[in-house]
């Protein structure tokens, strides 16, 4: 068990982060808004944590960083992301579909270029030696694990509530929803802000976890990766993005383990280790062909429920 955790501890925590980032993209999608802005807010949250912990609440090298300071960083990151999301969201959410996606990609790029050129973000070098509140990487699960469960429960309750139904109506048919008295702007901005806050908080924890933070965090690549979590996992229930984030983050390690099987011919092993990205891309293509709604759809348990009721 100990060796498992020392080997895979980093991966397990990364998986929970990925699940939450997938949810941050799923939240605006609940109102039908395809926003790729999550990496931008993730980067923002990370820089807030990195700057605060290396300048304001500095600790000696090697000393344990106080957990309370991390929590305060998370709260500040949440607030800053939420405010920025309102400023960005009100004009951007007038755009629809692909145009909103393009605008949010531009937003992510603007933030990236800014962080490459500002002194406070360490320019191209970024910020390193971010202090550690835990002695091992796996211990971050103490924060990310409960956080993921909390967010999952939050979205679960949301989907069954009055506001969640209004979101679903907007996603299904915005015009009809507004004719039913639902304010499209307010609800779309609300879902966008919730996604941004989540991404910002994850960024704050992630900066400590990764020990270093630079302009490579939160790029267009990350936007597409999170989108893949949601598309492959499924976009019709929150379980989809969570499973997509968890499984797709673990996939490269699973392939690596497969490759180390001695029975495998050498060229196959080499393909599994070096061709990981090819396999990854292939999976995305295959799942969109065979599971266009994603792997997890609500019908999976609805059908069972109906069967139980009828029998």
């Amino acid at each position: 068990m100990d060796s498992f955790i020392s080997t895979y501890g980093f991966l397990l925590v990364s998986m929970t982060f990925a699940a939450m980032l997938a949810l941050s993209l799923y939240l605006p999608l609940m109102t039908g808004q395809l926003s790729l802005a999550s990496p931008g807010f993730y980067a923002l949250g990370g820089y807030i944590a990195a700057v605060l912990s290396t300048t304001v609440w500095k600790v000696d090298k090697g000393a344990t960083y106080p957990l309370i300071a991390l929590v305060i960083e998370m709260i500040i990151a949440a607030g800053a992301s939420g405010l920025l999301a309102i400023v960005i969201g009100v004009p951007a959410l007038r755009l629809r579909g692909i145009y909103l996606a393009l605008a949010t990609i531009a937003f992510v790029e603007v933030l990236r270029v800014l962080s490459l050129n500002l002194d406070v973000t360490g320019k191209a070098i970024g910020i390193f030696d971010i202090p550690q509140p835990f002695s091992t990487k796996f211990a971050y699960i103490l924060i990310s694990g409960p956080m993921l469960l909390f967010v999952m429960f939050f979205v679960y309750q949301l989907e069954r509530s009055r506001v969640g139904r209004a979101f679903a109506a907007l996603r299904e048919d915005e015009l009809a929803a507004s004719a039913m008295g639902i304010n499209p702007t307010n609800n779309k901005v609300l879902s966008f802000v919730m996604g941004a806050v989540l991404a910002g908080v994850v960024g704050a924890v992630s900066a400590h976890f990764l020990n270093t933070w630079n302009a490579r965090q939160g790029t267009f690549d990350a936007s597409i990766l999170y989108l893949a979590f949601v598309i492959i996992g499924g976009s019709r229930t929150f379980v989809g993005p969570v499973m997509g984030g968890l499984l797709l983050t673990a996939l490269p390690e699973v392939l690596r383990a497969l490759a180390s099987q001695p029975a495998l011919p050498k060229f196959m092993a080499q393909f599994l280790t070096d061709g990981r990205l090819i396999i990854y891309g292939l999976l995305i293509v295959l799942s969109t062909i065979f599971f266009p709604q994603g792997l997890i759809v609500p019908e999976l348990w609805q059908r069972r429920k109906r069967k139980e009721r009828d029998s």
Binding site: F153, F154, Q157, L158, R160, S161, R162, V163, G164, R165, A166, A168, A169, E172, D173, L175, A176, A177, S178, A179, M180, G181, I182, N183, P184, L190, R236, R306
Partner: protein, 268 residues
Amino acid sequence: MTVPLPDSTSIDVGTSADLMFADKLEKRFGGLSAVDGVSFSVREGEIFGLIGPNGAGKTTLFNLITGLTPPTSGRLIFRGENLTGARPHVIAQKGIARTFQNIRLFPNLSALENVMVAQHIHTHSDILSSFFGLPSARREEAFIRKTALDLIDLIHMRDRADEKAKNFSYGDQRRLEIARALALKPQILLLDEPGAGMNSNEKAGLSDFIRQIRDQFKLTIVLIEHHVPLVMGLCDRIAVLNFGQLIALGNPADVQRDPAVIEAYLGE
């Protein structure tokens, strides 16, 4: 208020003291006036028919009233309040509900959920009270569900309440759309071709159903319909549109005899 017509007859279009008053509503799309200075009022409790040949501007007029398209000029007065240019959700909150000619249910939501959604404006639970499952939120949720089920009962769909809206037949979808609109507790209900695609048997049933909901929910109903016998038998008053202009307004018998109406439908 009366508006002179080209042929020197005039139409009594009512006043802003009536429940709803359209005052010279106009919508131009480029050079085309889809609705061209139309004035009429709807009185409380009546069933008001809106007829006219294809392309006469009936649905555009509905869209102007419900805020889906802003008018180029003119005013819309509802219960003495100027609602011109208000956004659709505000107009819905004021008490004007509608159905759509090309059915716009929420296809992937169940029949029950479709009706539950439409109670949004009459309920108040926010995200946090739902998240914590506060008693107030749970009570409200139970109330929403019960109200929705009552409306589902009204259209006899109780046994299929959990099915997705997109799986219902055309006629059932039309009835479900009416149930959804009723969940808004409107004062005026606008029905855009409620009988489209129904056979004559179903249309007779529809007439009874519309009268029933008018009486039960104390509604005022405005409906667009092509089927002349249905309109003549059901409506208290009828307005006729042709090329975006109001050419006749009055009780069914008078409208039926109006030379301008006969000309619009049959040609000279």
